[in-house]
Amino acid sequence: MAIKLNLDRVMLDRRMSLTELADRIGITLANLSILKTNKARAIRFSTLDALCRELNCQPGDIIEHVPGPQAADGEV
């Protein structure tokens, strides 16, 4: 997918661990790990809102569009 999440970079800047961030935004560690490793297919606005609030950043700081070859339908 051409959408890339730069969660690990922002977390490093804010000196926040995965466990702490997961507790603060109210999602499981497994789900946060899915986000961090770019395996997620979609993100809810409520989750994005919680991430931006706890990391004190803008959505554009976390989400980046990387142009590349289009994936086939149904593929990540």
């Binding site: 789900n31 899915i34 979609a42 993100i43």
Partner: protein, 229 residues
């Protein structure tokens, strides 16, 4: 109102027990089918003991094709499309051999297929009971059921045709009347005979294969939902 809505969303306790009940039922039916197949197989290998004094009825059902009944002049006086009758006969070694080598194998085929089908259904309901309705394993099971039905429809059509032809040959040789002569037989190469011999299992197989596609799309939706954080 809230309680009714909760019950509707969560399902009744009967709905929750249904997959487990179905699983046990299909397991029992699969064992029963295997037992039937074993009994048929034994009857083929050992052969029933024929009692010449015994008298029994033979059910005749020719579901497709024509049976021409000609009188002494040779021209068909009656055309019977399909024949269903009960014929009373004394125990005839040839009839016993017919049952042993033509009808018992068809019985084995049916029983083995039913055992396979019930086992696949048991595994399907086990998965559903565990909450794994939309998984690759479940989709595979549904596809196996569909292909099994298709294969069974084709194989059983041929097997039944041969068994029916053998019975018809027996009747032609052993059933006679001063006024009438049996004439005509079904042509197994006739396309219309083949098409009309294909059982509804063929259509059910196609339906189940279409259902497997629905399951596949369900898996995709479930995957999308799980990966939406």
């Amino acid at each position: 109102m809230l309680n009714a809505r909760a019950m509707m969303l969560g399902g009744s306790s009967m709905d929750a027990r249904l997959p487990a009940v179905c699983k046990k039922m299909f397991a029992f039916l699969a064992m029963l089918s295997l037992l039937s197949a074993a009994i048929f197989a034994v009857s083929i290998l050992v052969g029933p003991i024929s009692n010449s004094a015994a008298q029994f009825l033979v059910g005749v059902n020719v579901p497709a094709g024509e049976l021409l009944v000609r009188d002494n002049s040779g021209s068909p006086s009656i055309v019977i499309t399909g024949l269903k009758a009960m014929v009373s006969t004394r125990s005839d070694p040839e009839l016993v051999q017919l049952a042993r080598y033509y009808f018992a194998p068809v019985g084995v085929l049916y029983a083995l297929f039913m055992a396979l089908l019930f086992d696949l259904l048991r595994r399907l309901f086990r998965n559903v009971g565990q909450g794994s309705s939309f998984t690759p394993q479940t989709i595979r099971l549904v596809r196996y059921i569909g292909f099994s039905l298709l294969l069974f429809a084709l194989v059983s059509a041929v097997a039944e045709a041969y068994a029916s032809q053998a019975l018809l040959d027996y009747l032609c040789q052993h059933v006679s009347s001063p006024a009438l002569r049996w004439g005509g037989s079904r042509n197994l190469n006739d396309i219309s005979t083949a098409v009309s011999s294909v059982s509804p299992a063929f259509l059910y197989g196609l339906l189940v294969l279409a259902l497997s596609e629905v399951f596949r799309q369900g898996l995709k939706l479930k995957s999308d939902c799980e990966l939406t954080i």
